[in-house]
Symmetry: C2
Subunit: 235 residues, 2 copies
DNA sequence: ATGTGTGAATCGGTTCACAGCC
DNA sequence: GGCTGTGAACCGATTCACACAT
């Protein structure tokens, strides 16, 4: 860690914030928003840690990457911290997103209002099926995936959401990238790759359940003896 | 999420699988299923790594936690590996899940057919609002959250999905645990805690977008940051 | 010759513990 | 006294590199 600037040559790049910390910042923001509502003006790392479900030292270290925004002996100013974190996360303005794939999952995501409420309005829906084009879901018209370049330009969209079947995911990702999208959230159960410099995150709902299933399995079947009432095939 | 030792003396961790490995197993399974379809009979760690989007050494190490299922100089037998991994993950039978909260998100998840297709049929929907009780979504009747104990017993459900508003999440989690659920997937934008020995995973869609927003922000807004000069120091 | 299985090295991240400031 | 900010210790996970099996 190069906390203090040395006389040696150093990259002028902006502070590097560990990825794990970045992933927690939104949780802190959410927590602070709740606190701001109830007029709490300052908060200690200990209390924030408790509310955010992490360790207090973690909170302090995480916040220290943003700068020294706390006051020793006092804590952090809620409003100020919120402002700094929102700015850092780029939450000072909306980010229109484009959802590709209007099958079950895409429809579900389009109908789910939670994106818009939290600063990520769904700007457009695209699908490869001409029969779906022209229809609308949740008030947003479905357009053809070939129009992606226009749509991206039109809405200044930088973030794309992939909700297509697995087989189409990589192709759609490529088209999104070509159209100018540089951040992708992939819900399709497939590995997609993007060029260097782009961001890619994935959420696979079934995988989450399978992970739970692993531990559940171990809990209910301590020694491969008791089987849950079901098909029970065992080799 | 620690495996409890059986009655024997402390078993020296012969079977402990790192959490990070567990999280990748479902991806391997998915990949292998695709390979099995196209009649590939054996696969090398290198090829599997490529398809699963990870490093080859990682694949070998991960698989070695399950046992020595590969053949040196040859690779892994796809079918056999698939069988072993499915068994380990508890995917040899279905796991009925219960979704709590029938707002936008819950409706979206209930309508999304992907859970059932992949071994996690939605056994029941519950909500606290009496006006919603009795209605159905995606063919599944909505029942009152007070009935959770009955519903859990009835369906032998071990996994619960929380899709309520943030404010209700902890209460619902507590009720699920009391009703006998021991694995929870939380979609509500709130921190929930469960007793030791239970599993809890969270998926926050807005948080995923906010993480993307962070990197997007840095990409679009070049430096705009003060210089790191030796005179500055901190504070 | 090929590709697994695994100790050893490495890396990133978490937690500890305390110096420094209010 | 109270609480932040951060080096240092620690811990888990990833990657390397090579012995070993086929």
């Amino acid at each position: 860690m190069e906390g203090r600037a040395a006389r040696s040559v150093k990259k002028p790049a902006a502070r590097h914030i560990p990825e794990a910390t970045v992933a927690r910042l939104p949780v802190y923001v959410r927590t602070l928003l709740g606190l701001a509502d109830e007029k709490t003006s300052t908060i200690s790392s200990e209390r924030l840690a408790e509310l955010a479900g992490v360790n207090a030292a973690q909170v302090r270290k995480d916040l220290s990457y943003l700068g020294s925004y706390g006051t020793r002996g006092v804590g952090y100013d809620v409003e100020y911290l919120l402002f700094q974190m929102s700015r850092e996360l780029g939450l000072t303005h909306d980010w229109p997103v484009i959802i590709a794939g209007v099958g079950n999952l895409g429809r579900a995501l389009a109908n789910y209002g939670g994106f818009g409420e939290r600063g990520f309005p769904v700007a457009a829906l695209v699908d490869a099926d001409p029969k779906k084009v022209g229809k609308a879901i949740g008030g947003i018209e479905i357009r053809h995936v070939d129009d992606l370049p226009d749509i991206v330009a039109e809405h200044h969209a930088a973030i794309g959401i992939i909700a297509t079947p697995a087989a189409a995911a990589q192709d759609v990702a490529d088209r999104m990238v070509a159209a100018g999208v540089s951040s992708i959230l992939n819900f399709a159960p497939a590995i997609v790759t993007v060029p260097d410099g782009m961001s890619l995150r994935k959420v696979d709902l079934a995988v989450e359940l399978q992970i739970l299933s692993f531990y559940q399995q171990r809990r209910t079947e301590p020694d491969a003896d008791r089987t849950v009432a079901s098909a029970g095939g065992e080799g």
